[in-house]
Structures are given as C-alpha cells and as structure tokens.
Amino acid sequence: MAANYWASTQRLHWQFSRTELQDILQHLENEDPALTQQYPLLDRRLLSIFYNQQLVKLAKRMSIRQQALGTAQVYIRRFYTKVDVRNTNPYLILTTALYLACKMEESPQHIRVVVEHARSLWPDFIPSDVSRLGECEFYLISEMNSQLIIHHPYRTLQELQGRLDLVQDDVLVAWSIINDHYLTDLPLLFAPHVIAIAAIFLAMTLKQSSGGQQAAVNAAAYLTDSRQAIREGSSTVASNDNVPEKRIGSFVKWLAEGEVDLQAVADSMQEIISLYDVWDRYGEKTCKDQISHVVKARGLDK
C-alpha cells in the first residue's frame, strides 16, 4: 500500500534480486542483437552517473527538491529495465521523469517551463513541441504500470535519527549517501530502510578514521560477521577491534535485534563503496558522445 512499503507495488513489482536484474537487462540486449552490436555502450554504472548528472543540472535550474529528484531517478531506472537505452532519447526520458516526479511529489511544474529549461540545457535533444514530452509521459507511465509511488530511504533516516540519537554530522553524511545511492542499482535491489541503515552505518564508519573507505569496507565485513555473533548470543561484538567506537557497536546490536536483513545492509554498503570507485573512472565526454551518437544516428531526437 501507499505508505506501507511491505504491501507496496515497489516491493511487489520493482524489487529484484541481483540475478533477476541481470537477466532482465540481458534479455533487453538480446531482443535486438544487431542493435546492441552496432551501438556498444559503456558500463551501465558510468551511464547512470551521466544521466544523473544531467538530471541534477536540470533539477538545479528549476530548484527542485531532493525527494522529487530521487523519485525521477527511480523512474528512469525502472524504465530502463523495460526499454533498451538504444531505443530512446535519454534526454527526453529524464526530463519527462523529472516532470512526472514533481507532480507525484506534490510540487508540480508546468510542462512548458520544464521543456524550456531542458531545451536550454540540451537544445539539440529536446523538441520544442511540449506534446512530445506529454507523449513520453505516457510511455513512462505505461512502462511503469502506473506504479508511481516511491518509498525513499529518507523517511527511515528521519525516523532513526531520533530513535538512535544520531548526531547531526552522521545524519548529514547519511543523507548525502542516500542521494548517491540513486546512481546505483540499489533502489531496484533493496528496501528503502535497508538503504537508510547502510547509509547511516557508512556515515558512522567513514568518518571514523583517516582511512575512511577502508574502515567502511571493514565495517561491512564486520557487520556480516557480527550478525553471526549476535545470533549466537555473543555480547562481545561491541568491542570488536575493527570498529572501536561504542556507538557503532550498539547500533549494530540494535540492528541485529530487529528484523533487518544484515546481509542486504552489508551488500548495499559494498555497492556504494564501489560506486565511488566507478566514479573515479567516470568521464562525462565519453558518455555524452556515445549517447549523442545513438540518438542522432537513430533519429530518436526527432
């Protein structure tokens, strides 16, 4: 249901295992092998970063709130599990996703305004005729089966902030980690509360030591181990060497006592850490050229 994640369409229809997701994407590429071959594309993770950066540019121009941006990001990700990128004009898709997300997040923007802003950013890719965006909206909604309500990790973060006495610093870092998770497949893989917990945990461990990233990796491993330890009734986890700070220990303890899937939390942490690695390899130009090439060559901008 709408506010109940467990009965939501998000959980029932848009949450996949890694292998399921892999299969879905593979299947898309296999639909038209010639097309796939003719237009080889970069690592999806790099393209994700590209789409996202474009989207952020547009959102900034229009002063759109983060939650609407997050919703748009999830829409785009869902859409591209149904349609191969090579059959779309990503610029139009992401503009449309943002337009729709704003409506759903109760901060509607006029279609003309959205098109104007998008055109000023990507004049070669956004048709001036607003009805093209309107048409694309149908496409998006239809591929998403009208399932437009998105559950975000921000809510869990806000809830836990009070319950766990999180310090402001941790909350801020966790918040921006959540912002970053939309650049990965995580929204299609795990429940929002799992992501929120992973973000909190990362926030706590990253600032722990100077070797922040390594600390986070350790923490992820530690989390997986500690689940075992806690299950076995060991109360010594909090004093584990890898994670010296007591606060984290008690956080883990709190986690283990609940119903949270710790393996999923650890997985999410890993995914975010590797996002930062991928990011280091990212170059906007290559992505841009590739996308432009497909769109232009196939006349998808018309």
């Binding site: 901060s107 909206e137 239809s142 089966n145």
Partner: protein
C-alpha cells in the same frame, strides 16, 4: 526506426465492450463496460481526456489529479475501497478500468425522497457507515487523505458492499519533507468541508475526512445535506473567499465554536471573519442555535425512526457518534478507528452486516446508463474546460473543486 513514439500494447476496445455512458465528471467521462474475453462482472471505465488545444487532441501533460488517482489506486487494495482493474493509456487518453458499482449513496438517498420521503432503514445506515469508516481507516492507516468524501463518491455494489471511490483528490499525508499545504488550495465539496478548512487552516489532517463522514451520516438520516450552504465564488483576483454562508449553516445547528471547546480556534486564519457571521443568539429573544441534539431528535421523529418500527432507530448512540464526528476541534474529532469501536456499532454484541441491503425488500434502481454517447473514442466532451491548463492549474466546477 524513426523517432521515439508511444505505442500502447493493450487497447481498450479490444478488451472491453462499452455498454453505455454513465457520467461526465470533472476530469472526464465514466462508461459502463463488459469484458470481451470472459472477464467476470461489469466495469466502469473512467476516461481522462487531455485538454483540447485547437482541433486536434494533443498531449499536454497529465493532470496532477489523474496522476494521484492512478498511482494511489494502483497501490490500494481493500474491500471498502473501489477496486482498480487496470489502466490503459491510449490515444492520448487515460482509461482507468474499475469494478462496476451499481449504486452510490447519493442515488440511494435520492431514491428515498421519492415519490414520498421514506427513511433508509437504521440497520442499513449502520452498515453503510461501518463499511465507509472501515475503508477510511484503511486509507488513513496508509497515510492517504481522501479529501472529497460525499455521497456521490461512495459507491455501493449490488451486494451491498460499500466502496470508497473517486480518489482524484486523495493524497499522501506523511511526506515529512515538506508541509501539506503546497499544491491545491481548497478541497472537499463545500457542504462536507470541515470547519478548520472553512476557517482557512492549511494543515489538514485525517480529521477533515471524518467531518465529511459526520455530514454523510446526518444526510443518510434526514435525506438532505445537513449544512447546505451557498458557495461564495472566487473573485477576479482569484483570492479564496471566506465561505460565510457555509459557516453560518453550521453555526445555526452547532452554535458558535468557542475557544474553550476548541483551543486552536483563535489561531485559525479566518478567526476574525468568523466574528462577523450572523448567528441566532440566545439572548436576543431567539431560541439560539438549534443544537445537534434537537436537530437529531427532530430528524428521527419526522422520519419515524423508532424502535419497533420497520426502519428501527439509530438511538442515543447514533447521536453520540454524530456529535463526536461533528466536533469543531479537529484534534478532538473522533478518528475512524475510534468510530468503529463506538457503541453505536458494538452495543448488544451484534455484528454489523457487511451487506448494507441485508434484510431489505427495497429494490434500488440500477445506475442510469445512457446510450447517447457510448463511443469511448468520441472527441467532443461536453462539460470540460476549453483551454488546457494542466498541473491542477485548472479551476474545477465552481461548486466543487478549487485548485490553485
């Protein structure tokens, strides 16, 4: 392959046969249909048409209201909420396919006013109200405010099951990241509009829906809207007017709200305006406001609600419940959950029937289905606005909805 074009995979006319036309609402038209492929039951297909720009129909962006209704109905599933079968996007139109409901509360109320007024049996009212509250509790538990509860939006199936319909104004209210008052300005058909909204409050809460339930309860008993005010129209500057007449109608029955009974009253934006509403003062030779008790017992008497009579009686408990629903103070107003546990429903240990027609001999007429326009493709659409202003920039039918 040419440019990116939307092509629908499912076509309405391939799956459904339109039997006739039911109604033309704010956002489009509703048709009755049956399935071509042996789907069981009848369907109501709500067609949202895009705004017309010139001669050809264009994509102009889906209204926020349609987006909400599509998204919420896709998530909701409860025996007392209208069941969405599917949504088809085709020919620049949205088709929402619902299970068909033969009746609605407005139609049932109207049936009881003709040829002469005859009361809806007390047991039927109890069942209708119980089911309505049950559906509302589900919505509220899931953080959905309906915001437009009124008899016409409450459907009843031929088996006597109540289904809350028309979620076009419904929205989620948890959204902690921003306040609830952005977006549309005024909500709920004026007769069912809660006092805090009439007094300009922007923080609406689930309590607004319970006020509407109170009004509906009263209307089921008396067969007339209890607070039938005249809507003040928006002026040319598009400022939302103070609904003086509507407030007056409420005050005539319930008396002036006081800050003793409603501490938040003085903080209502239109508090000053409230002082200017004429109302019958007890001292000036008049008998003062009627009082809900008097209204209630008068209504019961003239409708001949009595124990031992065929229609039975909602009794003292009914008044208690009604009083709690029509509490001025939204923070004290009864919640859906509390209402369901009210002695009105639970006394005597009997279970409220899930069929509001149980034991009744009355046959309600079938929903009127006209043949005038049963071409679902038809482009001309009487009663819709001429100029496209998507994103809730439109102003609805003046007596119904005002949107920013």
């Amino acid at each position: 392959m040419p440019s990116m074009v939307y092509k629908n995979k499912v076509r309405v006319r391939d799956k459904y046969r339109i039997v006739g036309f039911i109604s033309s609402g704010t956002y489009g038209r509703v048709y009755k249909a049956v399935g071509w492929n042996g789907q069981t039951g009848d369907f109501a297909i709500k067609k949202f048409k895009p705004d017309k720009e010139g001669e050809v129909i264009q994509y102009t962006g889906i209204s926020q209201s349609a987006c909400r209704e599509m998204a919420l109905c896709s998530e909701l599933s409860h025996p007392n909420v209208i069941n969405l079968v599917e949504i088809i996007l085709e020919d620049k139109c949205i088709f929402m396919v619902f299970e068909y409901a033969e009746h609605d509360l407005l139609q049932i109320i109207q049936h009881h006013t003709q040829p002469a007024r005859h009361p809806i049996p007390a047991s039927a009212i109890k069942s209708m109200l119980f089911q309505l509250l049950n559906g509302l509790l589900y919505l509220h538990r899931n953080w959905v405010l309906h915001r437009d509860l009124k008899p016409a939006n409450i459907m009843v199936t031929s088996k006597g099951e109540v289904r809350i319909g028309d979620l076009g104004l419904a929205r989620l209210f948890y959204k902690p990241l921003h306040s609830l008052f952005s977006g549309d300005k005024v909500v709920v058909t004026i007769w069912y509009r809660a006092p805090e909204l009439l007094l300009g409050s922007k923080h609406y809460t689930p309590a607004v829906d319970l006020w509407a339930v109170g009004c509906i309860f009263a209307e089921l008993l008396s067969l007339r809207p209890i607070f039938k005010g005249e809507e003040a129209k928006m002026d040319s500057k598009k400022t939302v007017p103070f609904q003086r007449n509507q407030v007056q109608k409420i005050v005539e029955v319930l008396g002036m709200p006081t800050k003793e009974k409603w501490p938040g009253l003085v903080h209502q934006p239109e508090f000053a305006q409230l002082q200017t509403v004429p109302y019958p003062r007890r001292d000036s030779g008049s008998a003062g406001p009627l009082g809900l008790d008097t209204w209630y017992w008068n209504t019961l008497r003239s409708a001949n609600y009595q124990e031992g009579q065929p229609s039975g009686s909602p009794g003292q408990q009914g008044l208690d419940l009604l009083t709690s629903l029509l509490d001025y103070d939204p923070t004290k107003r009864m919640t859906a959950e509390e209402a369901l546990h009210h002695p009105y429903f639970t006394a005597n240990g009997e279970k409220v029937s899930a069929n509001c027609f149980e034991g009744m001999t009355t046959q309600y007429p079938h929903r009127r289905v006209s043949q005038e326009d049963n071409d679902i493709r038809t482009a001309s659409l009487p009663g819709t606005k001429k100029n496209g202003l998507p994103d809730d920039t439109l102003i609805g039918r003046p007596t119904k909805r005002l949107k920013e």
